[in-house]
Subunit: 333 residues, 2 copies
DNA sequence: CTGTTAGCGCATTCAT
DNA sequence: ATGAATGCGCTAACAG
């Protein structure tokens, strides 16, 4: 069995209360007592039982980060930022994968968050709608990352996807492209991200007086492997596109590969821009132009929002719009 | 306050014992009682408090996966496999980042594992040596992933890095390359991975009767950004290398980029092979030859080993050597 | 300044 | 088949 406060107390010849005080760094302890307790603590190699402490305090000091897939670069990089910032504030982050499956998302929430295992949740979902989540929130606060779905009564942190996408496409148009295509999306009809990115794309085209008719191809997901068929479909058009806006950098990476195979020169024949600015994009050949969401900013805003709500559960619901940046590299000339 | 067993018991007019039995699916409950309890359970939307349950049972049902950096593709993909397999077994995985910092690794172990917050730990470390870890193990089992450091008294899962590296380099040599260089490594003198990969490289060169003199360049870490300077250094040699073994796919990606910038054709002028087979490597231009460790196999072996040790803490220490595969793509001709 | 003790929510042993 | 009561390890309210 592990060594408990009691064991230490007996050893040091004091009460558990005193040991607890020493462990928790209280003031007002007689120097002699403290020394004796410290000695016993070290000798027995005492470790406070976090489970017991959490039960007692009703707080675990852990926040949960729920992501669709941790092996997707964007989420990996976002998770990294969250862990980074949270640990600078003394918080532990528990990362969990939902696989984008609403069932599993629900289960994580009920079995861990509602069960008091974590103090709060940072939730990046493609599956569940905010409305569904609100019902699951229970006693633990949830902060939504990414897309805000309609009618949500939850704090939310994200970027303006419509505007970011509009700027990305406008950039290609400024570079003289007139037949700009777009690819992206995912199976779920609930994929709000693709909805907004498509909207931004269409806005940019319309503003420039260009037709987007037949130039958008939906993909199965946002991964590299899903770009090839979309690209093939676009290249089969009577009039080939001369610009391509990919809803994610991974899609763009897959597209670059598919284009190279078809001997389409980037950017000469076709300019490409992605979304997310994952690290790989700086090193691809050609390097990828993209939209860089302020990941550190998202992480900070999200963690701050969660901690604030922990202190003040009744506070007003907030919406945080974090910045983004257009990164121009070789793929868009 | 959250609803407790007691609340449900009162509502259903039974004792907490009975409610607990229903919740935990015990047999031998009068059908009428069960129905009444079920109704109360649903009406109050009862969620068992995991913290209390864990305190009582001494088990949390959660295993911790400690990785250096989750935004590194290899670790992201490995984490994905671990979560995948563990959840198929009904286990929850908590992922934590150590940043490769021995201090932080130690802290995670003492503050979470020793504190009973998790049942066991899957530990992928660059910093701490197994010997250090063994002392920290305390009451909770630890399974080491990746490199086995000397004198470890812990279960370990990994691949044969020496042999895998030897085969990678031998592959380049078979393709007619004679001046094969190698890049990789990390700051820490404790980086066992680079030690073994370098050893495999040297073995292959020696076996082929080739000199490796001055052909290995150490990098700061295994990331894309660290390859450029190493490549530049190699290209400055009197006689340029015609083959390059990178200790990671990320390094290889950085190298491909640097080579393209210097107008070195791959594989015509220089054949490249990486290590890890991250997803991006299939889609780069040229696509990257690499060594593919059986990530799913590592995940399975590791989780199995941990669960086995939870049941039988006194069992014999095991060493699991998981397979790997040489993947030939465009970069090695 | 420090000892005693209640109770966080649950599973479980001892009764019945 | 179910109730009553104990204690997991800890913190904090209440003494003194």
């Amino acid at each position: 069995m592990a060594v408990t406060l009691r064991d230490v107390a007996v050893k040091a010849g004091v009460s558990v209360r005193t040991v607890s005080n020493v462990v928790n760094g209280f003031q007002h302890i007689a120097p002699g007592t403290r020394a004796r307790v410290q000695a016993a603590l070290e000798e027995l190699n005492y470790r406070p039982n976090l489970v017991a402490r959490s039960l007692r305090q009703g707080r675990t000091g852990i926040i949960m980060l729920v992501l669709p897939e941790i092996n997707v670069s964007y989420f990996g990089e976002l998770a990294h930022e969250v862990v980074d910032y949270a640990s600078s504030l003394g918080c532990t982050v528990q990362i969990d994968e939902s696989g984008g499956d609403p069932q599993r998302e629900k289960q994580l929430l009920t079995s861990l968050a509602q069960a008091g295992w974590v103090d709060g949740v940072l939730f990046s979902s493609l599956g569940l709608r905010g409305v569904d989540l609100a019902g699951l929130a229970g006693t633990r606060p949830i902060v939504l990352l990414g897309e805000r779905t309609a009618g949500t009564a939850l704090d939310h942190v994200g970027i303006d996807n419509v505007e970011a996408s509009r700027q990305a496409v406008a950039h290609l148009i400024e570079r003289g492209r007139t037949r700009v295509a777009a690819i992206g999306g995912s199976g779920g009809a609930r994929d709000a991200t693709s909805k907004y990115r498509l909207k931004g794309y269409e806005q940019a085209m319309k503003t420039a007086g260009l037709s987007s008719e037949g130039l958008y191809v939906r993909t199965a997901d946002y991964r590299r492997g899903s770009a090839a068929s979309a690209v093939r479909e676009l290249l089969a058009r009577d009039e080939r596109p001369d610009g391509l806006f990919c809803f994610s950098d991974e899609l763009a990476a897959g597209a670059l590969r598919a284009l190279a195979e078809q001997n389409v020169r980037v950017p000469a024949d076709l300019a490409v821009i992605g979304f997310d600015d994952i690290e790989a994009s700086r090193f691809s050949t050609p390097s990828l132009s993209t939209v860089r969401p302020d990941k550190a900013g998202i992480a900070k805003a999200a963690v701050d929002a969660l901690l604030r709500r922990l202190d003040d559960p009744g506070g007003e619901i907030h919406e945080f719009n974090v910045g983004f940046e257009l990164i121009q590299r070789e793929s868009s000339g």
